[in-house]
Each structure stands twice: as structure tokens, then as C-alpha cells.
Amino acid sequence: MLSKNETNNNSPLKFRIGDALWRNVFRKDSSQKESIFSILKKVPLFKGMSKPEINEFDKIIHRRKYKENETIFYEGEPGVGMYIVQEGAIAIYKNTGELEKEELAKLSAGEFFGELALLDESPRSASAIALEDTRILGLFRPDLLDLIDRKPRLGNKFLFQLAMLIGERLKHTNEELQTLWSKFEDSKVIT
């Protein structure tokens, strides 16, 4: 005999099929949506954005799955946009010789790469490869430009965060350059 709960779940069958179809075809799984929200919330580029604002980005974000060792993009190809690791791991590497490559970074869930391609179409400065079966979220320039056109306030918020991030990196690079320069000067004095 069916329990009360099971009976409720089984009848009417037609409704359940329709509901499942509606959920699968027309609506995104709410748990998946929630996990994307929690991932994006942690990314500095979406800092200070409300849930409806992040949902606007969710509408233009592409979900992609990559198998282990599958290349996401190659060095030298025109850049189209940035990726955020949702699940799995990514390696960023640069070709140093014909068959040699140097690993620049390893990225895991919540980390992002390729954000400079949101600004221009210049060639990718490094390649990205999936180290294991990986899910990533892609945000691309055409969609971002379209969002800026339609929702300038939200677009500005994002661009401001992007500018802050690039500024931070520039500051960090300047500091490193200064350290290296002083080391170089010191070595000149010693020799």
C-alpha cells in the first residue's frame, strides 16, 4: 500500500509529468541557480551587487562543461571574455618553446581568468586547460556590452569593479617591479 506521501506524489500523474517538463525545459533548477549565485557573490567583480543584479548577470552567463585535459582557449586566439570556475580545476600556461610550456597558475572553484578579454579583442596571453572534469561559467564581451546598453547603471557597477581590480593588479605589479629594481641596483653596487 502506498503511504500518504507517495500517493500525493503519484497523483495526478499528468500534472507531475507536466511539472517536470516545465522545470526541465523552461525553468532552471533552483538549486543550480542558487549555487551560481553563491559562486558569483564571492567573485570580486560582482562585489556589492544585490541578488536581482547578480541574477541579471546570470541571464547572460554561459555554462560550459570541460573534460579533463580539454583546452578552454589557446594562447594567441582572440579573447572573447572571462571564465569563472564553478567546479573542478583549471591550469593557465604559457608556451615557452616549441614543445615547452610554463604553468602560470592553477585555479579552483570560485576563481576566475581571462577578464581582460572583456575589454578588447586582443589575443589571449596564455592558454587555459581543464585539469579534471570541470564546470565553468563564461561571461563574454558581446553580452556585457549589450547589458551595458540595456542596464547602464548595473554595467557601470561591474566596469567600476573591473577597473578597481585592474588598478589593484597594476599597484601590485609596480611594487614587484620596484622590489626587482632595487635588487638589481643592489647587485650592481656589490659587483
Binding site: H62, R63, R64, Y66, I72, P78, P142, D146, R150
Partner: protein, 356 residues
């Protein structure tokens, strides 16, 4: 002894089998499309037209969204404004056009096509004595009869096209509202290796084509208005109807201006019976074309989708064969989509090292 078949056996790896299956599937899909598409000609043309209308209206919807209005509301608003403008147009211009059409149909009812042809031949014979030759007259009559029959069937086609308008509005509504989601769903099926390339090609094609179509429409409106004004000043009957049609036909390169000018010239000849007004109409249309080619098109229509004149003529002929007048109207924009897509695909294959 081993059989020759065994020696021919190829070791199929799962990857190779998968590849063969994909190619076989693609081939089957292509054959299925070839079988399915011809009967779905009208649905396909509705979809293509809705796509073009969406490209024309999208910037307007985006403009409202930019002002903080919800997209759904913006789409409803834009479509309502268009319906309102159409109603307004019907209210103000319909009396003029319907009067013209009534006159035309009354003319058709009073006289059979044969009578009209005879009358026209008589006028033509008076104006050009050479055309009184019975052999030439018989040939002209044959051609004119065919032309008249064609123009009658064209009117029927136009009416059925009006019936399709509601359907078109419905499809356009969903394209405008959910176009972005639809595009995302399509791109989702593209394999990872081609994904970025597909995305950028789709975006560039859409942008260039949208610009081209909006430019073409603006040029058509300007040429239409100028034609109506010129015909009105020259006292040509049905000036509004013929002028509007000339504006629309202007979207068909090379053939369009001729299609627009010829009816006006025939009416001028039938009404006045001399070549003076016909020449005036021809000069007016030629001036409008000259003005359009020198001052309007270079500044409005995007040059990126320019096609070779021979290509234009061939695609218009193919379009005409497939979908009659609508095919001729759609031929150049569809060929432009193909040209821009091929150009961008070439760019993509070169830059994304697909075959490397």
C-alpha cells in the same frame, strides 16, 4: 586463405565510431531538412521576416530598457505603438489608398484584362507608329496579358500576407522578449572548441545585419515619400499606392527601382496617351534614384554587406523563383547574412586555428 573482406577490416575505435555517427547524423538531418523545408516554406518565411523585424525593433526595446522599463513591458509598449501607428496609418491613408484600389478594381471590373490591353496597345500604337505592326502587336498583347494576370495574383498574395501579420506579430513578440535566451540556448549546443568563435561570429553578424536592415528601411521610407511627392506633383493617378510600392520595391536592388517606375509610366501613358508625362515620370524616378545613390545610401546603409552586382541579380532571381515577390525582397538580406557569416567564419577559422 584469408577472405578479402577480412583484409579490408578497419579497426574502429569508439572515437572514430562517434565521429562517423555524428557525420551520419548531420547528413540525415540535412536530408530531412531538404524534405521538410519546402512544405514549410510559408512558416520559414514568417520566421525569417519576424527575425528581420526583431532586428529592426531590438534597439528601440533596448532604448526603453535603458530608461529603466522592464523588457516585457518595453516589448509590449513598442508593439502597441506599432499597432497604433498602423491603425493611424489605416485611418488616415486608407481612404486615399482604398479609393485608389477601388478605382483600380472598378477599372478592372468595367474592362476585362483583354480590353485594357487593347486600350493600352491603341495608346502605345498612337505614340509609337512602329508598334502598329500586327506581329509586334500580337507579341505585346501576349506579354501584357501575362503581366496583368501576374499583377492580379500579386494583389491576392498581398492580402494573404496581411493575414499573416498577426502571426508575424506573435512570433516577433517572443523573439523580442526571449531572443537573448534563445540565442544562449542555441550557442549551448556548440562544441567547446568552436564555442567562443560561434559566439563572436553570431554577435558580429547580428550587429552588421541589424545596421544594414535598419538603413535599408530608412532609405525605403525616404524613397517612398519622395516617390509619392513626385507622382502627386506630376498628377499621376494612384500616386500614393504606386509611390509606397516604389519605396518598398527599392529594397530590391536593380529590379526595385524599375518595378517602382514602370506602373507609374504605364498609368501616365494610359491617361495622357503621349510620351511627355511618361518621360517626366521616368526623369522623376531617375532623379530620386540618383539622389538616393549619391546622398542617402552612402550615409545610411552599411557598406560591410555590399554584394557584387552579379551576385545580387542571381540571388534576387533565386529568391523570386522560391518565394515570388517576398523571395525577391528577402533575397538580398538573406544573401547578406550568408556573406557576413562566411566572412566571419573565415576570420574565425583563421584566428582560432581550427584546422591547426
Amino acid at each position: 586463405m584469408t577472405s578479402p573482406i577480412t583484409s579490408l577490416t578497419v579497426n574502429y575505435t569508439p572515437k572514430a565510431v562517434k565521429k562517423i555517427a555524428i557525420w551520419a547524423g548531420a547528413l540525415l538531418l540535412f536530408v530531412a531538412l531538404l524534405i521538410i523545408l519546402p512544405p514549410l516554406k510559408s512558416v520559414m518565411s514568417s520566421l525569417v521576416i519576424a527575425l528581420f523585424v526583431t532586428m529592426l525593433l531590438n534597439p528601440v526595446v533596448d532604448f526603453f530598457e535603458n530608461r529603466g522599463i522592464d523588457r516585457l513591458l518595453a516589448v509590449v509598449l513598442v508593439l502597441m505603438v506599432i499597432v497604433f501607428l498602423m491603425v493611424l496609418g489605416v485611418k488616415f491613408f486608407a481612404p486615399v489608398v482604398s479609393h485608389e484600389i477601388e478605382q483600380m478594381s472598378a477599372g478592372l471590373q468595367n474592362q476585362s484584362p483583354e480590353e485594357m490591353t487593347l486600350k493600352f496597345q491603341e495608346r502605345l500604337g498612337k505614340a509609337v507608329p512602329l508598334l502598329r505592326n500586327p506581329l509586334i502587336q500580337a507579341k505585346t498583347k501576349e506579354q501584357l496579358d501575362a503581366l496583368l494576370q501576374k499583377s492580379l495574383s500579386l494583389i491576392v498574395q498581398l492580402f494573404s500576407a496581411v493575414m499573416d501579420m498577426v502571426m508575424l506579430g506573435f512570433i516577433t513578440f517572443f523573439f523580442l522578449k526571449d531572443g537573448r535566451r534563445m540565442k544562449k540556448a542555441v550557442v549551448r549546443w556548440v562544441p567547446n572548441r568552436y564555442f567562443e568563435m560561434a559566439l563572436i561570429i553570431l554577435h558580429k553578424t547580428e550587429r552588421q545585419l541589424g545596421k544594414y536592415l535598419r538603413g535599408q528601411l530608412l532609405v525605403a521610407i525616404i524613397v517612398g515619400a519622395m516617390s509619392v511627392a513626385a507622382l502627386y506633383l506630376l498628377h499621376i493617378r494612384y500616386y500614393f499606392f504606386i509611390g509606397t510600392m516604389a519605396g518598398l520595391a527599392n529594397m530590391i536592388p536593380y529590379f526595385g527601382p524599375v518595378v517602382g517606375a514602370v506602373p507609374a509610366m504605364i498609368i501616365a501613358l494610359m491617361d495622357y496617351g503621349s510620351f511627355g508625362p511618361v518621360t517626366a515620370v521616368a526623369v522623376a524616378f531617375a532623379s530620386i534614384q540618383l539622389f538616393e545613390n549619391i546622398f542617402i545610401s552612402p550615409f545610411i546603409v552599411s557598406r560591410s554587406v555590399e554584394l557584387h552586382p552579379l551576385t545580387v541579380i542571381i540571388v534576387i532571381l533565386i529568391g523570386g523563383q522560391l518565394l515570388d515577390i517576398f523571395g525577391m525582397l528577402l533575397a538580398v538580406p538573406v544573401a547578406s547574412i550568408l556573406k557576413v557569416s562566411v566572412k566571419e567564419l573565415y576570420w574565425g577559422f583563421k584566428n582560432y586555428r581550427i584546422f591547426a
